[in-house]
């Protein structure tokens, strides 16, 4: 704990970190200590045999230890790391944090890990910029702070662990796990019944309303491929019914199996509706999101599910 406090003073949160001698720590690894003992053993052997060459060998190995320390440091230093403020994903699934690495030259054997999470191994980091994805996994929905990112390397001979723990101050929005609703459950839920007309007309060609220029983020399934093939550009099909349909996804309509389960079903439905390009609203009791569509609306709904009071 005291160490963490000290670390907070030493390496304060920032969206970008440059690794220098201020934030890099070097410790001999266990193999490093064994190696040192081995060097002492060689020295004893040389002294007992009064053998100058074995002595030279032991001195050489001792200096290699120092040289390796320097190489270990330079393998990590001068790297710049930056990360987005937020990442999002579903519970019980790996959520990937993109981290941008910019390195002045080639670096080897880098590991990345958030506390208590899976590590990511980057065997080779080229000169220039690249993005890696460090995964986080949470069992429950909510907003998490993944904490410090540990970056470490055992290059060059495994004698040292060169590490740092940097804080991007980022957060991780974890949506509920999406659990599919069975058809029978859907029928009982009543959510679909209310919007039966939508169900029927959704795929009807008769109800086709108009073609608009494709906007990035609109589902690919609704691109008018025929027109696209004719060279008229990317157009999206829009349907008549969607304009006026008032589809509400209500938490109260979900099968009564506990709040968490209901949220998980809702999460699935939100995904499904968004995927189909449906206009929908989300009713969580106190928190209501009016019907709409698009990426932003989708994220807003998922967020609402994530932060729904437990």
């Amino acid at each position: 704990m005291r160490f963490n406090r000290w670390l907070k003073r030493r390496i304060p949160p920032a969206s970008m970190h440059k690794l220098t001698n201020r934030n890099i720590f070097i410790m001999p690894s266990r193999f490093g200590f064994v190696y040192l003992i081995f060097v002492i053993l060689l020295f004893l052997l040389a002294t007992n045999y009064q053998n100058n060459i074995i002595m030279l060998l032991s001195y050489l190995m001792a200096s290699v230890f120092i040289t390796t320390m320097m190489h270990s440091f330079f393998n990590v230093s001068a790297i710049e790391l930056s990360a987005d403020k937020t990442a999002a994903g579903y519970a019980k699934k790996n959520i990937c944090f993109p981290i941008k690495i910019s390195s002045p030259n080639k670096r080897l054997d880098l590991h990345f890990r958030f506390d208590d999470q899976e590590a990511f191994h980057l065997p080779e980091c080229d000169q220039g910029e690249q993005t890696i994805y460090v995964s986080c996994r949470y069992e429950e929905r909510g907003i998490y702070y993944p904490g410090r990112l540990k970056v470490w390397s055992e290059y060059s001979l495994g004698l040292f662990i060169t590490w740092t723990r940097i804080d991007f101050g980022n957060q991780c929005n974890v949506y509920p796990e999406a659990i599919p609703l069975n058809i029978s459950q859907r029928d009982f839920s009543g959510a679909i019944k209310e919007n039966a007309s939508v169900e029927n007309n959704k795929l009807g060609i008769d109800d086709f309303f108009e073609l608009k220029t494709h906007i990035s983020g609109e589902p690919l399934s609704r691109i008018a491929w025929k027109q696209f093939a004719r060279g008229q550009g990317r157009l999206t099909k829009h349907y008549h019914e969607q304009q006026g349909a008032n589809c509400w996804l209500k938490i109260t309509d979900m099968p009564n199996q506990g709040v968490e389960k209901q949220l998980q079903y809702l999460c699935f439905l939100v995904n499904e509706y968004h995927h189909l390009g449906q206009i929908f609203g989300l009713d969580l009791g106190q928190d209501k999101i009016p019907p709409s569509q698009g990426e932003h609306h989708f994220k807003q709904c998922l967020m609402a599910l994530a932060i729904y009071p437990k």
């Binding site: 100058n52 290699v64 699934k93 001979l157």
Partner: protein, 702 residues
């Protein structure tokens, strides 16, 4: 679902694959290098290991190779266990025969080769590397020559390469090897400083020494045997004189005195060492009168696994204690070490070559040196008695024997016929073919039977002068035997009967006659074989001089030399000074590595095309078209074109060039072409962007 997530989940899968439960595995390439490294490490010890152990080791290594060829094949643990047990039992069974050191060496090599069969974790991998380095260190117990030392350093680099390759699996082995060689090179300066200044300690405890076959002179000489010593061109020792080198025919290097003759064999009398600890002999040693000019020299003796050492008579006993090895002066004017010489050893002595060897001869000594077995070699005895009557003066009598040898049909050869019966009679009256030992023993025998105390001295004669470093190299083929007779008032007088039959041997050495007989036939690579080729000889002498410097400076570096050197450099000897030197060297080394790396990370800007691309992205960013980190370049170009259709053609081409340079492996020509294309498009895009800027400006005015 939507695109982004599927893209991410792909990467998630990749991540999982790359890190899922930490299973140790070496890349196939690295495994082979490790196997090669194992073979090379062990090959340095081939001459020390017994044949059955070599067989077991090669079995293990072949097993490893098989596992690499067919990864599906997995050796059962029980097989490995069985192999381990049987190997250990075999070592234990032959432990008595092998001795402690060799048993341990066998065990080490066995463990090392067996470890290769079960590389299941990182721990195993680290163990095998350290064991390998330990094997390299143990090679140095047996030989410390320049060649072996360099080989060991080279293999150390290879061992580190295997270790380094584990942490940089994406690099080629060649690159990795260069890297580890660089690291070792960078470590050398500090190692050398440590070697020079770090205090040397005396041995902490007794260690088993290498018990190799004894080489060089043997402790007994039977003239009936064929000379096999004279053929060897192995180095015996080197000598560096502080002042002028004495004449060749004065370089009689005494190693041991053989005064015990049983009719066939000459050997050292048994009680010689007991006597040297006697008070009485000590006094006689100390009161020797040393006269004439002194000759100071340093001897660097190669391991002979024997105790006797080489010197010119008469050694000043006062010059002995200053040496690293414990030297004893014996009453018969030879010196020996308190322990067998098992590694290259250097010592410095002073001799007074003009001093007579006249410390008093006790009655028992006199008797011993007159002793001949009753009835042996009757013909020689009879002739000796005749000579005694003809020449009452001992020196004249000795000369008369030499005259006989010179005038009669004696022949100097290194391949004399075998002798039988009364061997010396057989030689002197029938075969008349022999080398130094034959002549010296006949002479000594005749002197003894004529009533003059006489003995055989074994040692080396002469040496090869190396002009480059000014030292003498004495090889095994320089081994020699001569006689000493006791003359009252003069003491022991050296007589070399070989000079009577083959004066060339005494004046310039054996090798010419050896070449005529073509005796270096055992080894084609032996440079001594090609002495008649001038350039080979120069090369050989150069190598010899290099090896001598190595032996003198590195192998001969002792705590005494260290003390002298440091006092000379830094005045009086202080611990803090040594600490400061080591600290300074450490800091200097770190500084150098720092500077090298700093330069590397500063001076290497991004490749031109990458920085160009980033420049364009930065411009577009100001226009609100940010490229998110995880967006592929192609997708970004779609985005840009959507926004600025006028950029169209050139931006797509530009992106294509970028992707080709970034992700494709191109030949140099292709690269050049792409680069020039990209630069061209870069200019176009930039110009168009500028135009756009102008337009936007205009429209905002409108």
């Amino acid at each position: 679902m939507f695109n982004g997530v599927s893209h991410l989940s792909e990467i998630t899968l990749m991540t999982k694959k790359s890190l899922s439960p930490e299973r140790f595995s070496l890349s196939p390439q690295n495994s082979w290098v490790l196997l090669l490294c194992q073979c090379l490490n062990l090959s340095l010890l081939i001459s020390e290991l017994s044949a059955w152990m070599l067989a077991i080791i090669s079995l293990c290594l072949c097993g490893r190779a098989l596992m690499l060829i067919k990864p599906a094949l997995e050796l059962h643990r029980i097989i490995i266990l069985l192999l381990a047990c049987s190997g250990c039992l075999a070592i234990a069974a032959s432990g008595r025969e092998l001795g402690v050191l060799l048993s341990m060496l066998h065990l080490l090599c066995f463990a090392y080769s067996l470890k290769g069969l079960e590389l299941n974790s990182r721990k195993d991998f680290y163990q095998i590397i350290l064991l390998g380095i330990f094997i390299l260190a143990s090679v140095l117990i047996f030989s410390q020559s320049l060649f072996i030392s360099f080989l060991v350093i080279g293999l150390l680099v290879l061992n580190f390469t295997v270790l380094l390759a584990y942490f940089s699996p994406t690099q080629s082995i060649k690159k990795t090897m260069i890297k580890s060689a660089k690291a070792v090179m960078q470590s050398f300066p500090l190692a050398i400083v440590l070697f020079i200044v770090f205090p040397r300690l005396s041995p902490f405890w007794q260690v088993p020494s290498a018990k190799s076959a004894q080489t060089g002179l043997s402790e007994s000489v039977t003239p009936g045997d064929i000379a096999n010593l004279a053929r060897s061109s192995e180095l015996a020792f080197r000598v560096k004189f502080t002042n002028d080198i004495p004449q060749y025919n004065q370089l009689y290097w005494r190693a041991m005195v053989m005064d015990d003759f049983d009719g066939r064999t000459w050997q050292q009398s048994k009680n010689i060492r007991l006597k040297s600890t006697d008070n009485a002999t000590k006094i006689t040693l100390d009161t020797r009168k040393l006269v004439g000019p002194q000759t100071r020299y340093q001897v660097i003796a190669e391991p002979s696994y024997q105790r006797w050492l080489f010197s010119l008579a008469v050694v000043d006993p006062k010059s002995l204690p200053a040496n690293q090895v414990n030297l004893l002066a014996l009453p018969n004017y030879t010196i020996e070490s308190s322990k067998p010489i098992s590694q290259t050893t250097s010592y410095q002595v002073t001799s007074y070559t003009e001093t007579l060897l006249n410390s008093s001869l006790s009655d028992s000594e006199r008797l011993k040196n007159l002793l001949i077995p009753i009835g042996s070699n009757p013909k020689l005895q009879a002739q000796a008695k005749k000579l005694k009557l003809a020449y009452p003066d001992e020196m004249q009598r000795a000369q008369s024997i030499l005259d006989i040898i010179r005038e009669e049909n004696f022949y100097y050869t290194l391949t004399p016929p075998l002798l039988s019966g009364d061997e010396l009679d057989h030689f002197f009256y029938q075969t008349k073919k022999g080398f130094c030992v034959h002549y010296a023993s006949v002479f000594t025998f005749m002197m003894r039977s004529s009533g003059v105390p006489a003995r055989l001295v074994a040692g080396y004669l002469g040496g090869e002068y190396n002009e480059q470093s000014g030292h003498l190299s004495i090889y095994q083929y320089d081994a020699h035997a001569w006689a000493e007779i006791w003359i009252d008032n003069q003491g022991w007088v050296r007589v070399d009967p070989t000079s009577a039959v083959n004066p060339e041997r005494i004046e310039s050495g054996l090798s010419q006659s050896l070449q005529q007989e073509g005796l270096f036939n055992d080894d084609l690579l032996n440079l001594h074989r090609y002495k008649h080729l001038a350039w080979v000889n120069t090369l050989r002498l150069q190598l010899d001089s290099l090896d001598y410097q190595w032996a003198r400076l590195v192998l001969g570096y002792s705590s005494k030399i260290q003390y002298d050197l440091l006092t000379q450099w830094f005045g009086n000897f202080r611990a803090w000074k040594i600490g400061a030197i080591i600290g300074g060297a450490l800091a200097l080394m770190m500084l150098i590595i720092w500077l090298v790396n700093f330069k590397k990370s500063k001076n290497k800007p991004l490749s031109k095309w990458l920085s160009q691309y980033q420049q364009i992205i930065a411009i577009l960013k100001t226009k609100g078209l940010d490229k998110p980190m995880n967006m592929p370049a192609r997708q970004y170009s779609d985005l840009v074109i959507q926004r600025y259709p006028s950029l169209g053609v050139s931006f797509i081409a530009y992106t294509q060039c970028f992707e080709a340079l970034m992700y494709q492996t191109l030949t140099n020509e292709d690269k050049e072409q792409r680069l020039s294309e990209m630069t061209q498009y870069h200019k176009q895009v930039k110009a168009q962007l500028k135009k756009l800027k102008g337009k936007e400006h205009n429209s905002s005015i409108d």
